[in-house]
């Protein structure tokens, strides 16, 4: 069983309109690399030129924000659910 990744609506054009895709990776960094290979163009939408996750994209592993875990070094295992969600304006 692979890792399930939820893709936000604005990025679904790049995943052939799929809102959930499957992927194998050891950690978040690896996951983003794999997604970039499987769906050309997706990598640079998630990370900036220096390879950092874009500031206004939040990533959750099983509903926990990776800013509370180990950022892009957060480990993944089969069966995990990863959500990519644009930050919310407001306040």
């Amino acid at each position: 069983m692979a890792i399930k990744v939820r893709i936000p609506t604005p990025l679904q054009k790049l995943t052939k309109d799929k809102d959930v895709v499957e992927c194998d990776a050891k950690d978040i960094k690896g996951l983003i690399e794999e997604l970039g290979k499987a769906f050309p163009g997706l990598g640079e939408r998630i990370c900036d030129e220096s390879g950092k996750i874009r500031r206004f994209l939040n990533i959750y592993v099983n509903d926990e924000d990776i800013r509370f875990l180990e950022m892009d070094k957060t480990a993944l295992k089969n069966g995990d659910e990863v959500s990519i969600i644009p930050a919310i304006a407001g306040g």
């Binding site: 939408r45 874009r54 206004f56 800013r67 644009p86 930050a87 919310i88 304006a89 306040g91």
Partner: protein
């Protein structure tokens, strides 16, 4: 009129037209209004500003509307109080309170952003306005929407102070109390905003709305005789106000209304909700969200949208940050009231409490000019101080009772 060129992503720099847009479709960064400063420089002089009525629209060329302002025509231009007694209490030489606890019509700085938001919402043709709020914005949107004959939907966390709930309901909006904290209210509102064609002032017209906060900064500079203070202490919730005051200073320099500035910006938060202060102190680029626990409910935003930019403004300016406990908030509210006669809400207690710590720790020197930003009114958060300010002395209506109980 028409000094706005368009919108631009703060992150990747992509340009967008001046429409109802707020997020970059490429990198998800927030969009910001871009002005033609060359043209503004020609149109806006000190004399022009000084000749206009004392409200926030005296800086209208630097605000993102195309037509004439329609809302908040009496908002802004609040007093900059030279706080001599408080200065003495804190052991500093030159101290000012920028007092938006008396902003018109709802006694907080949110009257500024709502004035701009509603004027812009009308230009876009909206008939309904809405917001996610920790209270002050709720009051202001409900009030100004009533005056503008617009329908309004206001979303708040269910546990707000009574003053903020009554101060909203009186204007007859649709008030929705959400079982959750502000960040959850905000999340819900972004879903509502994408489904209903309403002007959510702090979501889909946020780039325009947020510009209204700059007028708080412009006024400080004008009221100091077209000069910038050395230190400004600002309360932070979403982080927008401090970002916009910093922008106001740089814009005034850009168009030549001030010659120079050496201003340092300082962020103030409650210890129970200090994601911005933490990032500044840890010198980190990452704003870690928190679950708020503080009596300063108007600042209880655990996942601040402009947190990164607030921390950047502090860093760029060479400022610093501090956080205060609930007890320190109450003590500071009392100190401001008992030295300057100004009754501020919990957020003001946070700002003064943090300023006091920054002065005591030597971060803010005692011999340079300091402005403390008081953004809300104490009558709205009476619960915070109710049991901590003594009681009235009860007597019979006789002179002997007075002398016995009061003078005895």
């Amino acid at each position: 009129m028409g000094f706005v060129k368009g919108l631009k992503c703060r992150e990747c720099g992509r340009h967008y037209p001046k429409e109802v847009l707020y997020v970059c479709e490429y990198c998800f960064g927030p969009l910001e209004v871009v002005y033609n400063y060359e043209k503004i420089k020609e149109a806006l002089t000190k004399e022009t500003i000084a000749s206009r009525p004392a409200n926030l629209w005296r800086y209208r060329e630097l605000l993102p509307i195309d037509g004439k302002p329609t809302d908040g025509l009496n908002s802004g231009f609040t007093p900059l109080v030279k706080a001599k007694n408080l200065a003495k209490a804190l052991g500093v030489e030159e101290l000012y309170i920028k007092d938006d606890s008396v902003d018109h019509p709802t006694l907080s700085f949110k009257d500024r952003v709502v004035a701009v938001a509603l004027s812009k919402a009308k230009e876009f043709g909206f008939h309904t306005v809405a917001c996610a709020s920790t209270g002050n914005l709720a009051n202001s949107v409900a009030s100004q929407a009533a005056a503008a004959r617009l329908e309004s939907y206001i979303f708040i966390p269910a546990d707000l102070e009574m003053g903020k709930i009554i101060g909203t309901l009186i204007y007859k909006p649709t008030l929705v109390a959400v079982e959750g904290n502000y960040d959850e209210v905000n999340r819900l509102c972004s879903q509502v905003a994408s489904k209903y064609k309403w002007a959510f002032v702090n979501i889909n017209i946020r780039p325009y709305y947020a510009e209204g906060s700059k007028t708080y900064g412009y006024e400080i500079l004008e009221q100091l005789g077209w000069s910038a203070p050395r230190h400004i202490v600002v309360p932070c919730a979403g982080g927008s106000l401090i970002t916009k005051i910093w922008k106001a200073i740089r814009e005034f320099k850009e168009i030549g209304l001030i010659d120079s500035y050496k201003t340092r910006m300082y962020a103030a938060q409650a210890e129970g909700c200090a994601p911005i202060v933490n990032a500044i102190k840890e010198k980190s680029d990452i704003i870690k969200p928190v679950r708020p626990r503080t009596i300063a409910k108007s600042l209880a935003i655990g996942n601040p949208a402009d947190g990164f930019y607030a921390a950047s403004a502090v860093r760029e300016s060479g400022g610093w940050a501090d956080a205060v406990t609930d007890e320190e908030i109450v003590e500071a509210i009392k100190l401001l009231a008992q030295t300057e006669g100004i009754f501020t809400e919990t957020a003001g207690g946070v700002t003064l409490g943090a300023a006091k710590k920054l002065i005591e720790s030597g971060r803010i020197p005692k011999d340079e000019s300091i402005v403390i930003c008081i953004t809300g009114n104490g009558l709205k958060t009476q619960e915070a101080v109710m049991d901590k300010i003594g009681r009235a002395i009860k007597i019979k209506p006789t002179l002997s009772s007075f002398e016995e109980k009061v003078r005895g």
